[in-house]
Symmetry: C2
Subunit: 110 residues, 2 copies
């Protein structure tokens, strides 16, 4: 490894941090959870999570623009689904790691 961060690496890490922001929010994780076993309409996500429509829609916009989820329209409805299987993998590993971490520990991260 180099002894200093290079420009390439800096740009890459900035991207990576943005990527992880997609998962670093409770509401968005609830959306991911909604979609864990397949596509859902916005209304179904709203019902599943109990969150307001605008909240869901705002988050979905963000997740869609970031290519973390994708949307397809069918009449009145828009179906969303997780775009990449690797995302489910990441969420799975995260769940494993957290098992090893005691409940209170992560509270430094509000």
């Amino acid at each position: 490894m180099e002894i200093q961060l290079g420009n390439e690496e800096i740009m890459r890490l900035k991207l990576v941090s943005k990527f992880f922001k997609g998962f670093a929010d409770y509401s968005r994780l609830c959306i991911f959870q909604s979609l864990m076993d397949g596509e859902k309409t916005v209304t179904e996500i709203i019902d599943y999570t109990g969150f307001s429509q605008s909240k869901i829609s705002n988050h979905l916009k963000c997740l869609r623009e970031s290519d973390l989820v994708e949307a397809r329209q069918d009449g009145k409805f828009i179906y969303y689904e997780i775009k990449d299987e690797k995302i489910k993998t990441i969420l799975g590993i995260a769940a494993e790691v957290i098992k090893d971490v005691s409940e209170e520990k992560l509270n430094c991260m509000k």
Copy 2:
């Protein structure tokens, strides 16, 4: 899958979101990158990243309390390292997923 989020799941997802906050910050990712191939002292991390001492120290405190990195003291120096191999795995998969995502896409996540 249930048609609504249960209490267990809600608590779990809150934890998961905190976990991901650890990776959702550029400065912290630079720290992780510093540690990718083994332990380093705080000073080495400072030199590698070019960040201020207090910034590094503040982030390390957070990462340590969250059990994402661990510290060991040797005289004046404190060596930090990534605590769980799974964390490196997650970072690796994230890198892969990002390759598929065009540069501008993630800009919704500031």
